[in-house]
């Protein structure tokens, strides 16, 4: 028996030793930072006793980025938190400003040819990476090329498919030399006079040209996306598949330098001294706390400066004088709708679709389910985005009208079943099973029962199974909630990318050739006013047709400490407020 206890005692001691050893000295206050830039000051005196996290110093912004990236590679990343890292370290040829206009970034001007089938960027003179090495157009040629390369197989690669030859090369599986040659020609770095560049050290290599398969006058906005960020070829190739794990390989041209990337735990950024524009005045620190209750505690404990404010915590926030001041809430970049399967009964009938849209009490949804974190929507493009239509009222909530529309079209409701001509048409609500979704669909079922009297059994399905169901038009559910968030602030992304025949609308069997024609026309239109008008007509057609029931727009809901100032808010702040223009932010002493 003694032996057993000794053994166990040893076990405990061993685990303690193992846990504590390695790493030597145990710092208790500031996090292990590689170097101290001049901007930061020693920790302020006001610190809770014996705590762990970086002291609340002026000059460090501590953000909760929620989910740790799966991969931080410009041509392979696609998640919100991955983009939040890339945006800080790199910069594209263009970028978005606080009003979501596309403004110069790595390039200082750009020019389309006469029919917008070609776009040329002129890179800024003297542009360098954070390590001082020169950044020329050849770098962008490499990054755009890499994005299209089928070997890369990036999840967002399709976004640049307007480039001539891109779609063909991406989808090519055997010998692809011909397809590759086309792309070699469409994505080209050159000298100002058009002659070829000699390499990455060629200082005169300052022109970057893209050729498109049809006119694409919006592409300067697409070029701001992370898929074109100029990561260094030699570092990628030397580092192999895992090159992105080592901050030393992430040499970029953005406002920050990645100084630390700890798997699952932390990402830390310091200002880029070689950034061409205003340098940030603070260091940036991302934590990755997935549980919102824990993140909230950390915020209240002064361990984080910015966190997402979850719906459940809104009541507590509103009722607390301090927290109330720290709460920000502004329009987001997503629209959610109840999608009706155009090819499945009963939603083949526009009258049923209309009735279901009239029966949807969007205000109650926002109040009950979203706890106020949202705004009812009756149109596709959200407020704050170019193309938004103010004052749309069609298909809004009207319970009486809903019932009337159904009756007028010859439907009755008996015993909770929708009936036409004596036959019952069953409707089932299929959705991805999660506690949040259950609440949502339970509400939906209850409300439709209340207004229309129809019983809709709930059918929750495991998440991945659900995704595979929705991808095929044959197995997609009759009705389900789905949203779209803008990739870039242009109506082309909202309309053409989503609703053209064969695009995302295909999964519900949507196809409208008249709308297709309008959208294609708008895509190619060079005159901005005419273009905006054409897109508006397309959106109008979308709304008038009552194909789906637009439901709500999301909001960006965050808690921000009072010493974080001058945040430039944009609807596209999907990860943290001010992320689009981080250089405007200042972190005061506190």
């Amino acid at each position: 028996m003694r032996k057993l206890f000794t053994l166990m005692g040893l076990l405990v001691v061993a685990s303690m030793v193992l846990a504590a050893c390695g790493g030597g000295a145990t710092p208790t206050t500031a996090p292990a930072q590689p170097e101290e830039p001049a901007a930061t000051e020693p920790p302020a005196a006001t610190q809770p006793p014996a705590t762990e996290p970086p002291a609340a110093e002026p000059g460090i912004l501590r953000v909760n980025s929620v989910t740790f990236p799966d991969i931080v590679d410009p041509q392979k990343s696609s998640f919100v938190s991955e983009i939040a890292v890339l945006q800080m370290v790199y910069e594209g040829v263009t970028k978005l400003d606080g009003d979501l206009n596309t403004v110069p970034a790595a390039s200082d001007k750009w020019e389309y040819n006469a029919d917008a089938t070609q776009l040329s960027f002129h890179l800024r003179d003297g542009l360098t990476y954070s390590d001082g090495s020169p950044l020329n157009a050849a770098r962008f040629e490499y990054s755009f090329h890499r994005n299209i390369d089928p070997a890369t197989a990036g999840e967002y690669a399709a976004i640049t498919d307007d480039i001539l030859g891109a779609a063909e090369w991406r989808g090519c599986t055997d010998s692809c030399d011909d397809e590759k040659a086309v792309v070699d020609d469409s994505v080209k770095a050159s000298h100002e006079d058009g002659s070829d560049c000699t390499g990455y050290d060629d200082a005169a290599c300052n022109t970057f040209t893209l050729k498109f398969k049809q006119p694409a006058p919006y592409f300067h906005t697409v070029a701001s996306l992370w898929v074109g960020y100029p990561a260094k070829q030699e570092l990628i190739e030397a580092g192999g598949e895992n090159w992105w794990l080592d901050p030393a390989n992430q040499i970029g041209n953005g406002p920050f330098v990645l100084s630390n990337l700890e798997q699952g735990v932390n990402a830390h950024f310091v200002p880029n001294e070689n950034y061409w524009d205003t340098k940030p005045s603070y260091e940036l620190d991302y934590s990755y706390i997935v549980d919102s209750a824990v993140a909230f505690e950390a915020f209240k404990n002064d361990e984080l400066d910015i966190v997402v404010a979850a719906a459940e915590d809104l009541g507590t926030i509103q009722n607390d004088a301090t927290l109330k001041e720290q709460y920000v809430n502004y329009a987001g970049s997503c629209t959610f709708a109840v999608m009706f399967h155009q090819l499945k009964e009963p939603f083949t009938d526009p009258a049923v679709r209309a009735a279901f849209s009239y029966a949807l009490d969007r205000n109650a949804w926002v109040t009950d389910v979203l706890q106020g974190l949202g705004a009812p929507a009756l149109t596709w493009i959200p407020p704050g985005f170019p193309g938004f239509k103010e004052g749309e009222t069609r298909f809004g909530f009207d319970a009486a009208k809903a019932v009337q529309t159904l009756t007028d079209a010859g439907y009755t409701v008996e015993n909770g079943q929708l009936m036409k001509g004596g036959t019952a048409i069953p409707i089932e609500l299929t959705f991805s099973d999660s506690p949040r979704n259950r609440t949502r669909y339970e509400w939906l079922a209850a409300k439709y029962k209340e207004v229309l009297g129809i019983d809709m059994p709930l059918n929750p399905v495991e998440a991945t199974t659900y995704t595979s169901l929705t991808k095929d038009v044959k197995t997609a559910p009759q009705m389900f909630i789905l949203g779209w968030c803008a990739d870039y602030p242009d109506p082309q992304n909202w309309l053409s990318v989503y609703w053209k025949t064969g695009a995302f609308g295909e999964r519900i069997g949507f196809s409208n050739p008249d709308m297709d024609a309008l959208m294609s026309q708008a895509d190619a239109e060079l005159d901005p006013t005419k273009r905006a008008d054409l897109y508006q007509q397309a959106q109008d057609m979308l709304v008038a047709g009552g194909y789906v029931a637009f439901m709500w727009n999301n909001v960006n809901s965050y808690l921000v400490k009072p010493w974080v100032k001058d945040i430039t808010r944009t609807p596209m702040d999907a990860n943290w407020p001010g992320q689009q223009v981080p250089t405007s932010i200042t972190v005061e002493a506190h």
């Binding site: 028996m1 003694r2 057993l4 166990m8 076990l11 405990v12 061993a14 685990s15 193992l18 846990a19 504590a20 390695g22 790493g23 145990t26 710092p27 208790t28 996090p31 809770p48 006793p49 014996a50 705590t51 762990e52 996290p53 799966d70 991969i71 392979k76 998640f79 089928p150 197989a153 999840e155 967002y156 399709a158 779609a167 991406r170 989808g171 599986t173 598949e241 895992n242 798997q263 699952g264 735990v265 934590s287 990755y288 997935v290 549980d291 209750a293 824990v294 505690e297 950390a298 404990n301 361990e303 991805s432 495991e462 998440a463 991945t464 199974t465 995704t467 595979s468 169901l469 929705t470």
Partner: protein
């Protein structure tokens, strides 16, 4: 005896193979695939999907994929890519570019192996089991010796909390108490080199096991208490401590040891909720999320690691049985 243990070790191979086969079949029969991601994220478009399927060999027949996983297969250039038998657990489907053994066993650059995800989980698991044993067993003994006293009821109360509170609830409570109110630790542990940061996660992880161990020890001891040889030992005038430790505990400890073995394996791999709540850099998350994400290699890899750990743990437990009670014979 030595042959027995050798045979047990050899038996692990067919066990692992069977588990691999069953898991492989099951995971490929689950609907959906690695490219069917959460709908809130951008979906992989069909062209890219095709390329990826070719790259990962998902377009090959299932039997061939299984053989490729276990033994190996020839790449497009004709090279032979060795599989499981060479220690290659396959490429992750979710984190493209990294292999499963990379993700689980590779420490960050320049650090020793205990800083890998597996290393962190091992340390946490050991710590949790140790806490469960070191606290649970004495509490169980005390409760048995003082049956129906306040010690007994207090231990019952704590045990009840331990098992009826799910870990995600206990975690948030403890965080609120120890971090927000008492400020003894921070909500976000920044430095895992300090033992302080490990206490809460280990406590939450091991609490259930500790409660179980305490009750089990108590029950076992109560059984033993009624035995004649205890009365004899006491009648002989032996010191109480000798009676308890040398005579009673030895017999009572068998069921406890039985569950502690697999408990260790389960705790090492089952820290999903702990990792979520405390941002702990372990490998527990991989077990759960891999299945939802249909990351086939990760599912196979984590399953095999778990079976391996459990088999080793059970072997160790059987070994301990003999140690504790020499009358136990393992072969027949």
């Amino acid at each position: 005896m030595a042959t027995y243990f050798l045979r047990r070790i050899l038996w692990m191979i067919p066990v692992l193979f069977t588990v691999a086969l069953i898991t492989f079949v099951m995971m490929h029969s689950a609907p959906g695939g690695p490219w069917d991601r959460d709908l809130s994220a951008r979906q992989v478009d069909p062209a890219t999907q095709k390329v990826l399927n070719t790259y990962y060999g998902l377009d090959k027949p299932l039997w061939r994929q299984f053989v490729a996983y276990v033994v190996g297969d020839f790449t497009q250039e004709g090279k032979f890519d060795c599989g499981l038998v060479c220690g290659d657990l396959g490429p992750s489907y979710r984190v493209r570019g990294r292999s499963v053994q990379d993700i689980l066993f590779e420490p960050p650059k320049g650090k020793s192996a205990i800083y890998s995800r597996f290393g962190y989980s091992m340390r946490l698991g050991f710590l949790a089991v140790s806490m469960a044993a070191i606290i649970g067993i004495p509490v169980g003994i005390a409760a048995a010796l003082k049956q129906n006293s306040w010690v007994d009821y207090l231990s019952l109360f704590i045990a009840t909390i331990g098992i009826s509170l799910p870990s995600f609830v206990m975690a948030i409570f403890l965080i609120i108490i120890f971090a927000s109110i008492l400020h003894l630790v921070s909500v976000i542990p920044k430095n895992w080199d300090e033992i302080k940061a490990w206490i809460l996660p280990a406590a939450v992880l091991g609490f259930g096991t500790m409660a179980y161990v305490a009750r089990l020890t108590r029950t076992s001891m109560l059984e033993v208490l009624r035995q004649d040889y205890v009365r004899t030992a006491r009648a002989k005038g032996l010191h109480e401590r000798v009676v308890v430790f040398r005579h009673m505990l030895r017999n009572a400890i068998i069921p406890v040891v039985t569950i502690l073995g697999p408990a260790l394996a389960a705790l090492v791999t089952g820290s999903f909720i702990i990792e979520t709540m405390f941002s702990f850099p372990g490998m527990g998350r991989a077990f759960v999320t891999a299945i939802g994400q249909r990351d086939y290699s990760m599912i196979m890899g984590t399953t095999l690691i778990y079976v391996f750990l459990v088999s080793v743990a059970n072997l160790a437990v059987d070994f301990l049985y003999v140690f504790i009670d020499p009358r136990i014979r393992l072969e027949d």
